[in-house]
């Protein structure tokens, strides 16, 4: 078979090679670079989008967290207040109860004292009457003379009163 010489430039091969190179370039561009660059770009857009979304979500979460934290602090404050109020009220009520009890106790004591005084008076009066009677009886027997009760009653009472006061 016929061969070309080893080192030569064949014009038509030369031209065809130039054309082939540009055709090849176009083919590679169309079938490799265009679709792949397209995909890469899409992926880039998607990644950017995801990052933006993530940032927005984080901001929202931060906002919510702050809100929750402040509401929890509020709740704690309120709880403390309620407890304090309850304690105060309880103290007031306890004080009231104690005061009432003291008053009642004082009342009871004074009443008891009044009763005692009255009883004492009553006892003294009874004793006075007894002593009066006895004195009249003794005096009657002593003087053998009937002492007129109505006449001397006043005298005796004065005497007893004086005795009572002296005792």
């Amino acid at each position: 078979m016929e061969t070309q010489s080893l080192v030569t430039i064949v014009p038509w091969t030369f031209i065809a090679t130039i054309l082939n190179l540009f055709i090849q370039m176009w083919l590679i561009k169309k079938f490799l670079f265009k679709p792949i660059n397209n995909i890469l770009e899409k992926r880039q857009t998607m990644t950017d989008q995801e990052i933006t979304d993530a940032r927005a979500a984080k901001e929202e979460a931060d906002g919510l967290k702050q809100q929750y934290e402040s509401s929890i602090a509020d709740a704690q404050m309120k709880a403390t207040e309620i407890v304090q109020n309850a304690q105060k009220e309880a103290q007031v009520r306890a004080d009231g109860i104690v005061a009432a009890a003291q008053t009642e106790a004082a009342d009871l004591k004074s009443k008891a004292e009044a009763d005692i005084t009255q009883e004492k008076k009553k006892a003294i009066n009874e004793v006075k009457n007894e002593i009066g009677g006895l004195a009249m009886d003794i005096a009657g027997k002593v003087v053998e003379k009937e002492i007129h009760e109505e006449d001397h009653k006043k005298l005796i009472d004065d005497f007893i009163n004086n005795v009572g006061d002296a005792s």
């Binding site: 080893l6 038509w12 091969t13 130039i18 370039m25 679709p35 992926r43």
Partner: protein, 256 residues
């Protein structure tokens, strides 16, 4: 086994008479046919790799395609000083590299490398030369470009013109020389090994020896090892160097 070694140019399958003076007949040579095969393979690969693309959960095929595109992008951008100024060059450089590397390596399956024909490298180098010149003129205008030849002094003009022309010539000849030398050395090695095994097995007496001496048994193995350098390394290296120079020359030219 032949006792003499010879290497020939690409075979001519058909000759189409055109009658155009300078260009001569259109020759359907081995170079052209294999070039078409190379183009078909590259195009098929591109289409195959970019089938069923998706944004997430990519297939291995897509990963390879993305890697290729990314490598091409980085190659051009890094060698032009970063930035997206020369992004238009990327498909051209990719086509050049793919064609070159596949043309060099196709000799491994027994076809004749199109790059073992100076016409091919000359064509590529001329295209690159035109692009360099275009970038230079774009950077400093036609007058500035012409004036550039007279720097630093007017006497330097012939040398400047020579160095300008030397660029495509050296690019073409470097690539061609490497591939052709690989072809020659591979041929020599096969030839020598054939002779050696024929001589070795011919030592066996009688019919057996005569029969066995026709089997070039030594040709199995050794060329695979030498081929690592002369085919694989040289082939990839030359394609890489050619593209590297293309990008660098154009980038330099554009800087003015």
């Amino acid at each position: 086994m032949s006792d003499s070694f010879s290497i020939e140019g690409a075979r001519i399958f058909a000759r189409i008479h055109t009658g155009i003076p300078v260009l001569g007949d259109f020759l359907i040579t081995e170079t052209l046919v294999v070039q078409w095969i190379v183009m078909a393979v590259i195009t098929f690969l591109c289409i195959f790799l970019t089938r069923h693309l998706s944004v997430t959960k990519i297939s291995k095929r897509q990963a390879i395609a993305e890697l290729l595109v990314d490598t091409a992008n980085k190659f051009v951008r890094n060698n032009t000083g970063g930035g997206h100024k020369f992004d238009k060059l990327i498909p051209f450089v990719a086509a050049l590299f793919a064609t070159s590397v596949l043309s060099n390596l196709i000799s491994l399956i027994g076809l004749r490398s199109p790059t073992a024909d100076l016409s091919v490298e000359a064509a590529w180098a001329i295209v690159v030369f035109v692009m360099i010149t275009k970038a230079k003129i774009k950077a400093s205008g036609v007058l500035g470009y012409l004036k550039g030849f007279t720097t630093p002094i007017f006497i330097m003009t012939p040398f400047n013109i020579l160095s300008e022309i030397a660029t495509p010539v050296s690019m073409a000849c470097r690539h061609f020389g490497n591939i052709l030398s690989g072809l020659v050395i591979d041929g020599l090695i096969y030839w020598a090994l054939g002779l050696a095994s024929s001589a070795l097995l011919g030592l066996i007496p009688g019919v057996v020896g005569r029969f066995l001496s026709n089997i070039p048994i030594l040709e199995v193995g050794v060329p695979a090892i030498t081929g690592v350098y002369f085919d694989w390394f040289s082939g990839c290296m030359q394609a890489f160097i050619f593209c590297m120079l293309t990008v660098m020359y154009i980038a330099n030219a554009a800087e003015g």
